[in-house]
Amino acid sequence: MPLPHGPDPVPEKFAACSVRLGADPEPFRVLDPDGHVVGPLPELDDATLLALYRWMAFGRALDGRALAIQRQGRLTVWAPATGQEAALAGMGLAMESGDWVFTAYREPLLLLMRGLALEDLLQYFRGLYWVANPYDTGAWPIQIVIADQTLHAVGAGLGFRLQGQPHVAVASVGDGATSQGDFYEAINFGGVFGAQALIYIQNNGWAISTPRARQSASQTLAQKALAFGLPGLLVDGNDPLAVYQVARHALDRARAGEGPIIVEALTYRLGAHTTADDPTRYQPPDEIAAWRGRDPIIRFRRFLERRGLWDAGREAVLQAEVLVEIDGAIARAEARPTPSFDRVIESTWAIPPPRLRAYQAARHAIDREETP
């Protein structure tokens, strides 16, 4: 039976992880949980493999520091991605210069890999506006409204196509976003217009306290692609080499103007939704234990160790290095002053309307009175 998504079937390598009617897809996998090679390795040199590991370790360390300083009141909020480092770093590695990414809030690692400066990102989590120039980083500000960015990515992907530009827009969403209307309008639009976009679902099992089973009766989230005439691929989201290869394929296909693919990465949120909740109240202990056994960082580290690329000594050096880097960025972010309220007005209006100018003048008068 031909694949339901028409004349452009996925390559043989991804056939088993491709969603289709009447067959259960197997997530694409390169490494087993112990780091043994069980699938086709990507063509990546040792330096790139080590850089990939460094990003994953950086993400894990950043979560630790960010949670600590949030508890001290130094960040407004933080959404840890602990357990999802492979899903983020594999995608970050696959994207190219000129591509854009439209994320939710659990993807700092992906944004940093796209070139966003950590101190700029931390400014945002200190409650300030987005200080980075999106045209330099190709990163749209973090999206807090669930699934909205799927439409922005599809629109950007349509824009690339209309302008004949060889770029791809990546929408990064969670499992919860697949229950929103905007998600469906986006994938429908993307399919109709062949948008140069990639719809990336990180299924981490939980949308705050709502389990995956409460989001949809669909067996997989990737299979939603079938109804919209798109390919859908399932990947082990805790395997960075698998995520990289699937992402690469989806990006190449979109870049070539063949339309979006929906990629579902199976992963797990080994932490809270954000600093505002306590996951031990809803995540079952045996489920957490099972996923801790599939930790993406341990898996990849064991792979590197077996290839002779990594050892305990290097790990200790790396851990010390990333903490220095993170603490430096925190210090630089905290050294920046809170901007004046004028900046809020001027961020909204290139030329503030008369009423706002009057408001500014009145505020300045109060400020002058209060200054001794």
Binding site: D148, Q165, F193, S347, P353
Partner: protein, 323 residues
């Protein structure tokens, strides 16, 4: 100078801006064949890459243009009826309006959301609402409401060249019935400049779009009984040319506001608040609003016409103030 309809004036603006700037493209439902004629002929000239008919998917239209604008295009999106914008409220209000702020002011998001409001074509309650006040409430959106074909062309061109999201509201009765002289030359009209449609000394009437035509009718009737009304057309409600309105009220000491939207929390309420704040000592009578009396718009043509302000109601309101 040719006399054209409102539809033709809008069509001229789109034609000229698409010819002027290849980044400008149109996107919306049924725009190739153009239900109301606004986008007529554009597909033939500019092709399927610049006149993009979409699935029936308003949230997608509203959201996708943000992405397209962020990578260098200048989209002009169409919502066939303003009521359809309710399906896209999150993208318009939470995303388009706030993106410039969320980007720390760095975003260039040259988006025009064109839509059609107003009663008078028997489209029934769910296709007939004037929701300008909802959008005026949200920081980050400019709101344009042209009344004449001349203004429609000039203001649409200004909207397309603006680097921020603009909601451009057209009145669907005016498309075919409102005619005026429109030059074929390139011109723009700045936002935030009201037009004095008729000079007068006894009462100020501030009226939007088709209601401005009603106000002018009423002014003629009032002149016959010796009352000279000054009729003002704000043209854009965000930004608002409050100075012109306040100046007029300080001169006439009385004001009536006319719009098709529901009276309660309509844009007239904001105007009354501003006028009272800035011309309190000049008022000889309380400001009055003439608007839809807070009922859904009836489907039946006779009842529909009764649900929106008439010249007789404006005359009645003014006479009440003159006692």
């Amino acid at each position: 100078m040719a006399v054209v309809t409102m539809s033709q004036a809008l069509n001229m603006a789109l034609h000229e801006e698409m010819a002027r700037d290849e980044r400008v493209f149109l996107i919306g439902e049924d725009i190739k064949d153009s239900t109301y004629g606004i986008t007529k002929g554009l597909w033939d000239t500019y092709g399927h890459k610049r006149v993009i008919g979409t699935p029936i998917s308003e949230a997608a239209i509203a959201g996708a243009v943000l992405g397209a604008a962020s990578v260098g295009l200048r989209p002009v999106a169409e919502f066939m009826y303003m009521t359809f914008m309710m399906c896209a409220m999150d993208q318009v209000v939470n995303q388009a309006a706030k993106s410039k702020y969320m980007f720390g002011g760095k975003a260039v998001l040259p988006i025009v959301y064109r839509t059609m409001a107003g009663a008078g074509r028997a489209n029934a309650a769910q296709h007939t609402q004037s929701l300008e006040a909802w959008f005026a409430h949200v920081p980050g959106l400019k709101i344009v409401m042209p009344t004449t074909p001349y203004d429609a062309k000039g203001l649409l061109k200004t909207s397309i060249r603006d680097d921020n999201p603009v909601i451009f509201i057209e009145n669907k009765v005016q498309y075919a019935t409102t005619r005026g002289e429109v030059p074929s030359t390139d011109y723009t009209i700045p936002f935030g400049q009201a037009a004095i449609r008729r000079a007068g000394t006894d009462v100020t009437i501030v009226a939007l779009q088709r209601m401005n035509e009603i106000a002018l009718e009423a002014a003629d009737e009032l002149a016959e009984i010796g009352i000279e009304a000054e009729v003002i057309d704000p043209r854009t409600i965000v930004p608002l040319d409050l100075d012109s309105i306040v100046k007029s009220v300080r001169k006439t000491h009385r004001v009536v506001i006319v719009h098709e939207a529901h009276e309660r929390v309509g844009f007239g309420a904001e105007l009354v608040a501003q006028i009272v704040q800035h011309a309190f000592d000049y008022l000889d009578a309380p400001p009055i609003r003439v608007a839809n009396p807070n009922v859904p718009t009836p489907f039946n043509r006779t009842l529909e016409e009764l649900s929106i302000p008439s010249a007789a109601q404006v005359v009645q309101a003014v006479r009440g103030l003159m006692r």
